[in-house]
Symmetry: C2
Subunit: 367 residues, 2 copies
């Protein structure tokens, strides 16, 4: 074993420090640790999957809602959750280290992110997104990421998530709506939906339908045509009813690559869709979109768009990993790549909008 | 759906910004994002398991060694790894965002942590630790963390990792040695192994055997008795041979709770062992340890020791989560808790040493 016969640089530590005040850390310890190679970070990466597991468990057991509802000790939370106090204590300490909870003596509290997004009583509750993002199939696809890197695409069946009527898209439609509230509002503002006027909107791969529905809420004359798998459209239609826009809501069931779009649309929405496919496939679709637009119409794309270096900003750049794990050919495309695809499909011009802290960009393309 | 009928605070964005220089981010965007609740962090937590998967894939495919060996483009690395260029490009971009790689134009380089710990040619290579820390059984134990929180302990069989001769401990002995080099050296210095003299050392749950072996390397008169499952002791014995200390190395196969220790030990080593059990079980063991010590002997414990608040320092505090997932009753104990266990077992005094950046503490206890 080489580690025993050679002397590793790590094996020459400086004198250890006796902890005199067990509660504190030696002064400067953090700074010193940050400056040198540190196996602790690697240990953290090897264990990063536990962050996901802890968040899922806390959502399953509704720990955040219990704390928001003033059950603040491990004993109280355990009672509410029907769980062991020891399990809750370890879970809540872990969530405190992660920054989702606070801890004062033995009382836990909600950090701002948790109060906003993880307390079920918050209108911005997003805990349900775990059901899509951490669906068992999705986790399973990453069990053999080595295989996916070798192959250059998902090892999850033939088509990963983009196969015919994969039931995960019903889960997507049901659980991702809250995470899409803010991007939907951003799009409505960018297209000045409030200005009204008779507008025809085609919402491709509508999912929960929120993007089209939000435009219809802003503009009482807008008519929305939602396209997706039939099973997914049921969710979109439910949401349209709940928003009271059902009379202006119609649907086209099927694959966006196969069905007829119709024509004369003022807006065609392409939200979180193009990242699933390779550029030639996207260009084929965009030609259909181009043909379906009315004069003066626009295509509106919501996407994770990394900069040309493909490693910034982090949220957009890491999205390509999800595509590698779960699709045969998907990617997080740069704006230059999107511009090229739209241009090849006949569009004359595309504009790129970022809206921090939103991880997605909006691209507006003109025929 | 409540998100459609109530207006969430998140749904009132400020005016979006047109990206004029696609390469840069709007000034102040990061600062603004950090100040407000941000679903991006939650998205990151939902996807954290991908960090572990990416690291495992990179180790499996020996990506870091290829880059250290000057194969710096995705094409070159893919050729070396026998993988798809597209898969390698997405993986390496992801590792760049994580800080393990650097990227200049299309050339990847090793960040300091990766050069030190992940290039197989480095004497401090630790990539093998993934085989223990991310063993399929371990990942599986966290598939139902909700169940473990409910139950207050592992759902992995009856005893999790602490069952009779669980084969994972052979994996531990084989793969974790490099990560234990630095703590082994810290312990040798703390007990002043270099001062020599005839010393008898009992290494309980020896695993790879590194802690005892390192003392034997520092002190040519030291005699080591290693205790572990028979299958694990084979690994320890191999390592003792490689270090040339086999003539002073003997073994006791079996459970530390059942076998006879013998007596007259100057040092008894308890490294990464007590965290697997509850305090009464540990006290029972520590009474045996106490009885086995020679006059003037010491027990030396290596452990993840959180402060009394149980949420700092992060590496020690989060260790309890691994125990919840993989053992029935294990925990990361505070120094006060260890002091109490040793005291109940007859020890008069314990001292606590931290040695940043080492995540573990050393506790020295006197009979």
């Amino acid at each position: 074993m080489r580690v025993l016969s050679r002397r590793a640089p790590m094996s020459q530590p400086t004198a250890p420090e006796l902890v005199k005040k067990p509660q504190g850390e030696p002064a400067g310890a953090r700074a010193a640790a940050a400056a040198m190679p540190n196996p602790g970070r690697l240990f953290q990466t090897f264990n990063a999957y536990q962050q996901t597991a802890a968040m899922r468990a806390a959502i399953d057991l509704d720990v955040f809602t219990a704390i928001g509802d003033r059950q603040t000790t491990a004993e109280q939370i355990a009672l509410r959750a029907g769980a062991a106090e020891r399990g809750i204590r370890i879970l809540c300490d872990y969530l405190t280290v992660m920054g989702y909870l606070t801890k004062q003596e033995s009382h836990y509290g909600l950090a701002p992110d948790a109060a906003m997004f993880l307390d079920r009583r918050s209108p911005a509750y997003m805990g349900g997104a775990a059901h899509f993002l951490d669906a068992p199939e999705m986790l399973k696809a990453f069990d053999d990421l080595t295989g996916a890197v070798r192959k250059g695409g998902t090892t999850w069946g033939e088509d990963g998530t983009v196969g015919m009527e994969n039931p995960i898209w019903v889960e997507f439609a049901r659980s991702m709506a809250p995470m899409m509230m803010m991007p939907a509002e951003v799009i409505s503002r960018l297209v000045e939906a409030d200005k009204g006027g008779k507008r025809r909107v085609l919402d491709i791969a509508a999912g929960h339908g929120l993007f089209g529905i939000n435009i219809a809420r802003h503009n009482p004359q807008a008519e929305i045509v939602a396209l997706d798998w039939a099973s997914v459209l049921e969710v979109a239609r439910e949401n349209a009813c709940k928003s009271g826009v059902e009379s202006r809501y119609s649907t086209i069931p099927g694959s966006a690559f196969e069905v007829e779009f119709g024509e004369g649309y003022d807006l065609v929405l392409l939200t979180n869709f193009l990242h699933h496919f390779d550029p030639p496939t996207n260009e084929e679709l965009l030609r259909k979109v181009h043909a379906a637009l009315a004069p003066g119409g626009r295509a509106v794309t919501l996407e994770f768009v990394p900069n040309d270096d493909r490693v910034t900003p982090p949220e957009a750049a890491t999205f390509s990993m999800i595509m590698l794990g779960s699709t045969p050919h998907g990617d997080a495309y740069t704006f230059a790549e999107f511009e090229r695809m739209f241009s090849h499909a006949g569009f004359t011009r595309s504009e790129h909008f970022r809206h921090p802290p939103l991880p997605e960009s909006v691209i507006i393309s003109y025929p």
